[in-house]
Amino acid sequence: MLAKSTALRTNSRWILQVIDAQTLASIIPKSQATNLLGQFLEPRPHGDISLSWFEVGVAATLLLINAIISLQLGLGIAKRIATSSVRMTIQLAILGLVLKQIFELAQPAPVLGLAAVMTVIAGVSAVKRIDYRYPTIYRNSIFAVWTSAWVVTSVTVLLIVRPQPWYSPQVVIPLLGMVLGNSLTGISLGLDRFLSELRNRRGEVETMLALGATRWESCRGVFIEATRTAMIPILNTMSVAGIVSIPGMMTGQLLAGAEPIDAVKYQIMIMFVIAAAIAIGVVLSLLLSYRNVTNSQHQIEWHQIQRP
């Protein structure tokens, strides 16, 4: 159960987020492939960021060491490391092929089609980690992810980045991926907290109802706490950005040889956009959930909130 959810989380994050650095950056420079083993240790020309499969293998070896340690100590995560790694590799390879096709087609329909598929996967993935659910949670999660990510991405693409044509897959897909990945994390955290906290504080919530609270008054505390929990990761990311971490997209742009100031401006813009998407998605998903687990008679429909 835990293994499954972790794998799925990894999976969706990879699909939706990791493309940001690679794609945004790798589109810009075109360099000759350095596939020969002999060239591995030669210094690479400035702005060349293409990798050989051998070079990718070096990175995989780092994880292999972890797997060996885990086997030695009996940590029991070697198998999970292996399956997650293989999955990730296959998924990204497929993504690479799909993106290649779509980049070449450069038509609005396949771009929007891929965007829609990514959005639905994000909506479903957001629910996967949630312990307690109610029957319509998938519908609500997909709706919240869809609305928040598409509104925010539309604004970013049409008003800020303004690519020609507007549906340029090189811009739309990685941007949407980044927004989706973050929005789904927020929604997932928020819903999980809201539903489990509602259950944990059942006595408290019911006491308030019994003393004349409306359904909103009784759930308000839990709602606020869930919103706060959902916003913590992005707030943390924003507060350490540039000090502890250099964000993925900026890293990609720097690797691709962009001017630091340009990369920074882009990153600041993206941070705002992501934070906005999370806030919209979280509040939307929580409001829908609140409406679904309460009724107009100021009751909580506890039977709806269940472990899957």
């Binding site: 019911e206 006491t207 308030m208 109802l209 003393l211 004349g212 039977h303």
Partner: protein, 269 residues
């Protein structure tokens, strides 16, 4: 419902054909119950665990989704008045619950709800009132500044009662309120309920008019005899027995209960 007249005016709450089905198991928790609670009623609710005692109490407070009708003073309770109805018909659970913060914050909380509009302001404007309430349970005023977790179960239950009484309810739904209390606390709890109930006697009238009522679930037959004048027995979500305890003697007298229409109706007393 016909317009209320004379005797019927004393009807506080009426449950008509109320059923509740547990959505998960499909089990019928309440099976088309009809119950009338009149001003002055002191009803004991007895029955085995799981027979639906708590469900009945919660249903009177409309805390769970139900089918059927609940009327308050002859009027169907619409959705928007449910919170203010619950202020008048307060359900007190066996396990008292508090929100974070101090006891004082907890006692103030119900006066911050929207349903508090039109009620006298928080009793903390009259500190004597709160002090008197605490005094009735021999609780020191300092307890107001403590956190609920630092109190014993007995103290918590007394404070839960105080919190309910500050709302000046007309009906109390007491769900095994003293099950976790020691005998001394239980006695204090009972006498406070007694005092609250009798305080509604309007002494200016020749015949005292009782305005309040309570329902009390308990597994302790002596407590039921002591605290209530009428008993209903729950069995598999139905009222199977309605008996009246002749005042003071404690002898139960059984009243016929037709199988399809269980009524607890004191209007013929």
């Amino acid at each position: 419902m016909q317009p209320v007249t004379g005797m019927a005016e004393r009807t506080l709450i009426e449950l008509r054909d109320v059923s509740r089905i547990d959505s998960n198991s499909g089990r019928q928790l309440l099976n088309s119950l009809s119950v009338t609670v009149c001003a002055g009623d002191r009803i004991g609710v007895v029955g085995a665990s799981g027979s639906g005692k708590s469900t009945l109490m919660r249903s009177i407070a409309m805390l769970d989704p139900l089918s059927g009708e609940v009327l308050h003073r002859g009027t169907r309770i619409t959705d928007d008045v449910i919170p203010s109805y619950r202020r008048k018909v307060v359900y007190l659970s066996q396990r008292p619950c508090f929100t974070g913060g101090t006891i004082e914050e907890n006692l103030r909380l119900p006066f911050q709800f929207k349903s508090a509009n039109g009620y006298p302001a928080s009793p903390f404007h009259e500190p004597d009132l709160v002090a008197a309430e605490l005094d009735a349970f021999e609780l020191a005023p300092e307890i107001l500044h403590r956190s609920p977790e630092s109190l014993s179960g007995g103290e918590q239950q007394m404070l839960a009662l105080i919190r309910a009484l500050l709302l000046e309810p007309e009906v109390l739904l007491l769900d095994e309120p003293t099950a976790a209390l020691d005998p001394a606390s239980r006695e204090k709890f009972e006498s406070r309920i007694h005092r609250w109930y009798n305080a509604s006697n309007d002494t200016t009238h020749k015949e005292p008019i009782k305005e309040k009522a309570y329902l009390w679930t308990s597994h302790d037959p002596t407590q039921v005899n002591r605290m209530t004048q009428k008993t209903v027995t729950m069995n598999h979500g139905q009222l199977t027995l309605v008996s009246e305890i002749a005042s003071n003697t404690g002898n139960a007298r059984e009243i016929d209960s037709p199988e399809n229409e269980q009524q607890v109706d004191s209007s013929g007393d």
